[in-house]
Subunit: 202 residues, 2 copies
Amino acid sequence: MAKRKEAPKTERGQQTRQAIFDTAIDLFAKRGYDKVTVDDICAKVGVTKGAFYNYFRSKDQIILEEFMRMDEHYVRFAEEISSLPTSLEKFKVFTRAAITLMSETGVRLMKVLYHSQIAPHMSRPYLANERRYLYRITNEIIREGQERGEIREDVPSEEMASMLIDCFRGQIYHWCLANGSFDLVETCDRLMDLLLDSLKPR
Amino acid sequence: MAKRKEAPKTERGQQTRQAIFDTAIDLFAKRGYDKVTVDDICAKVGVTKGAFYNYFRSKDQIILEEFMRMDEHYVRFAEEISSLPTSLEKFKVFTRAAITLMSETGVRLMKVLYHSQIAPHMSRPYLANERRYLYRITNEIIREGQERGEIREDVPSEEMASMLIDCFRGQIYHWCLANGSFDLVETCDRLMDLLLDSLKPR
DNA sequence: TGGTTTAACATACCCTGGTATGATACTATG
DNA sequence: CATAGTATCATACCAGGGTATGTTAAACCA
């Protein structure tokens, strides 16, 4: 599922791959993604492009992999909300945690991600992969809410989840466009207030 | 405001610029944006890169300019909805017209736009320019609705407009990610049903 | 009319992400 | 032990967007 180009098969390969990854993330954080060339990364690690492209299919993929790790957090969030009384509250708290995570990740990294995911050659963008925990958990919250009669049932849960995620994603996209010049969490809180109303049964 | 690199100052310049623009749009439509090089465009026009970059600051800007023309349509839409009875209906019809326009523009072009607008070096993205007609008109509809008591007043109209636009933008982003594999207008119609509820006064 | 400016291009080049291919060294197998 | 296979990397190269620097020719003055 992770779609890594190819996992290293030797101990040495593991280390090289890891060194490339760590160095890249470090340099990106310091200078910004577009100010770091693949050659820069390789030079600092002490290898050449041959090594880089043996383990990563593109420069973008470094960012994508860093982002995919974030998905792991969602599972933790899902556990933490299990005790909340209503589905609406679960949705609210879970989403807020996710947005906070984005915010902490920083606009620079998020911007690179949102940029690369919509690139012309990108075939199966990770962001839209409905098997991600983000989708599965959101869908489950909605579905449960519908079952309990706390959420309107005229829209299938999958579709509802997708629409809601897209709404917040629009805010994130805007946040990236604006280079993080407004508080993402705060804005999404207000959006949440709007959306929660529309979820209640007719 | 248009931020064109530099407008031609002679008749000949006008024609060259126009020829480059028309040829580029034509080639993009036929082969797709990323399958057309700047040299391709220049070759067909019969000039060199020197001419191209004298009139356009980047390859992306061709797309952006095509898109900026679409903004003109919004003014027409705004006139057409002026006779509708309620603000909610105005918002609904106006937004639907805008989305339909995107849909007709095609996912290929929209994808290039959404991709280039979020590029690392992009400083003042046109999409987020709040002086665009899209923002001004939407804001005016909301403001009027609040004045009439048809729309909740606990959120300032500018902020409300921005949030709503972002919601639909999230759908468009998703649509681009999915390479247009679902019906954008239809999906946005369903989203509209959700959002309208949440706009009503508390 | 001669000199000066400047718009409109042409030429040559750089930068950088990505690829194609080859060399090396380690491992498994007969 | 010889051979084949394979993972890891190095070298050389390409493509394509973008830039820096001329060169030409028309317009504009004095």
